[in-house]
Structure formats: structure tokens, C-alpha cells
């Protein structure tokens, strides 16, 4: 079973990397970009039957730092 965890900065947390990417896009002439936020995608290959709760625990304990980050789980079922 595969699952994907998307880790993103919480709204309001300044994202220096997103801002740099935004500037670089503007430098390439893409002037229709309003904002850029950078995050992480973590792909998990899991034993069948792994519950959403377990994946959530993985996120809270390690994959995301919930002080500054949110996470979203997407699974192939």
C-alpha cells in the first residue's frame, strides 16, 4: 500500500524558500505568480492495512513539525 504525505508550512509562517522561488520565477518573466509556498512530499510504502491513525502518528511524531507545518495524507486504496 502506498501513501503520500504532503508537508506544508502553516499559513502565516514566513517561507523564505518560497519567496526566493517566487523571485526567480519573476526573473524568468513569469509575472502572473501571486505567491509561492514550498513544501515536501514524502512517499511511504506501507504494510497493507496500515490505518490512517498510524500514518497520522508518523506525521505528528516525525514527518512534520506541527509547530510550523501542516500535513495532509493521500493514500492509494
Amino acid at each position: 500500500m502506498k501513501a503520500r504525505v504532503f508537508v506544508t508550512l502553516r499559513p502565516g509562517v514566513l517561507d523564505p524558500q518560497g519567496r526566493a522561488i517566487h523571485h526567480a520565477l519573476e526573473g524568468l518573466g513569469f509575472d502572473g505568480v501571486n505567491d509561492v509556498r514550498a513544501g515536501k512530499l514524502i512517499e511511504l510504502d506501507l504494510a497493507d492495512g496500515t490505518s490512517d491513525e498510524e500514518i497520522g502518528e508518523m506525521c505528528r511524531k516525525l514527518l512534520a513539525n506541527t509547530v510550523i507545518e501542516n500535513f495532509r495524507i493521500e493514500r492509494d486504496s
Binding site: L14, P16, Q17, L62, L63, N65, V67
Partner: protein
């Protein structure tokens, strides 16, 4: 005094920290590998060094904070044993939940490596008792992820409770309210991005960091 320096794969300031502790206390700390599950008997000071533990994978300090020795460090901190985390050590302590907030990528995106001005905000702690409150010192920083952030309530609480130990006197990395080092609620855990262990001998060009270790020795001995 029995001190311990925790060593993770990728730590690179562990020997600097050990050397500073030996210089001031006269006794070499025990170097404790991250796979250990217990600290040496009678440890009365724990130091978490700077560096790039686990190559800063996932987030700076994230993997180190979950390594076996950190459970023992957390238990000792709970019993009141002084713990100092410098640079990556500060990142590890926040990731381990022993200090609030998080250290994010520097606002300017650059790795900052220079001596910066620090104001001693609280001289009442076991780490800062040898300084005067409001005193300005110069201590080097060398980091990419030193941008301290926490929610406004947490920042207010840190400031209101005198838990901001050091503040930058200049713009360094975008840290909220220029915070360079903080204490836990009990006052026995300090995390700071600047490296006091790099300014302890005249040959370093400054000895502004030495009094931190001298104060600790006095507090513990």
C-alpha cells in the same frame, strides 16, 4: 562535575564544546554516542553540540531528536539536570520538545558565519549568572537554519517569564523578536544559536563565551 557531550553522526562542534568545558571545569566531559540509552552515572551537565546531525535530513535536528539517547536527556532535563544546546543542539532541543518554537531557514537564505552582537536579557539563569543583565557580548554564529519562530502567545510568554536568555543586537537571520537563545520553563535547559564555546580563550580573539561555562560550573558544583 560530571558532564556529557552527546555526539550524533554529523556533529562537528562536539570537540570544541568538550574543550571549552574541560578548560573551565578542569575535567573532560564524557562523549556519549547517540545510540546509547543511558547517560554516564552522575551526569550533572549535558551539552548538545552544533553541527549537521544526520545531514540536516528532513529538518535540522529532527532525526537526532528521535535518537535513543534523547529519551535519557529528556528524563534528566525533567529531573533538573542542566542541558545546553548550541546551534544544531538548539534545533535538536526544539525538535525534541524540550524547548518551544522552531528554527527555520534564515530569512536571507544565506548561511551566516560571523561574530554577532548579543544582549544578555536575563542574568538570573544558571547559564547567564556571570553576566550582567543588559550586557552586550560578541559571539560567533555559523548556521543556515537559525530563524527562531513561535506563535505570538509563546513569544509573549517567553518574554514575560524572562525566558529569553540572549537577543541579537543586529539583524542576523530573521528570528522573531531577535531571539538568539531561550530557556525552558524550569530554567535548566538553554538553547542558543551562537557558539559560546568558540570564544573561551584569548587565542580565539575574545573570551565572551567563557563566563557562560564558569557560571554553570558555579551553579552545578
Amino acid at each position: 562535575m560530571t558532564s556529557a557531550v552527546v555526539v550524533f553522526p554529523g556533529s562537528n562542534c562536539d570537540r570544541d564544546l568538550a574543550s571549552a568545558i574541560k578548560l573551565v571545569t578542569g575535567k573532560s566531559p564524557k562523549m556519549v554516542w547517540h545510540r546509547e540509552t543511558e547517560l554516564p552515572q552522575g551526569t550533572d551537565l549535558i551539552a548538545i553540540p552544533g553541527g549537521f546531525s544526520y545531514g540536516d535530513y528532513l529538518r535540522s535536528g529532527a532525526m537526532a531528536a528521535r535518537s535513543p539517547i534523547m529519551r535519557a536527556v529528556g528524563d534528566a532535563a525533567g529531573r533538573g539536570v542542566p542541558v545546553i544546546g548550541v546551534c544544531n543542539g538548539f534545533q535538536v532541543l526544539t525538535e525534541a520538545g524540550l524547548l518551544p518554537g522552531a528554527l527555520m531557514r534564515n530569512a536571507g537564505l544565506h548561511f551566516v558565519c560571523r561574530r554577532v552582537g548579543l544582549k544578555v536579557e536575563n542574568s538570573q539563569s544558571i547559564f547567564t549568572s556571570s553576566y550582567d543583565s543588559g550586557e552586550e557580548i560578541g559571539v560567533p554564529v555559523a548556521h543556515h537554519d537559525g530563524n527562531f519562530q513561535a506563535d505570538a502567545d509563546t513569544l509573549d510568554r517567553l518574554e514575560g517569564d524572562g525566558r529569553v536568555a540572549f537577543r541579537y543586537t543586529e539583524e542576523v537571520n530573521g528570528s522573531a523578536r531577535s531571539i538568539a537563545g531561550i530557556l525552558n520553563a524550569q530554567g535548566n535547559v538553554l538553547g542558543m544559536m551562537p557558539h559560546p564555546e568558540r570564544v573561551v580563550e584569548p587565542a580565539h580573539g575574545s573570551i565572551d563565551g567563557r563566563r557562560l561555562f564558569e557560571g554553570l560550573l558555579e551553579a552545578v558544583a
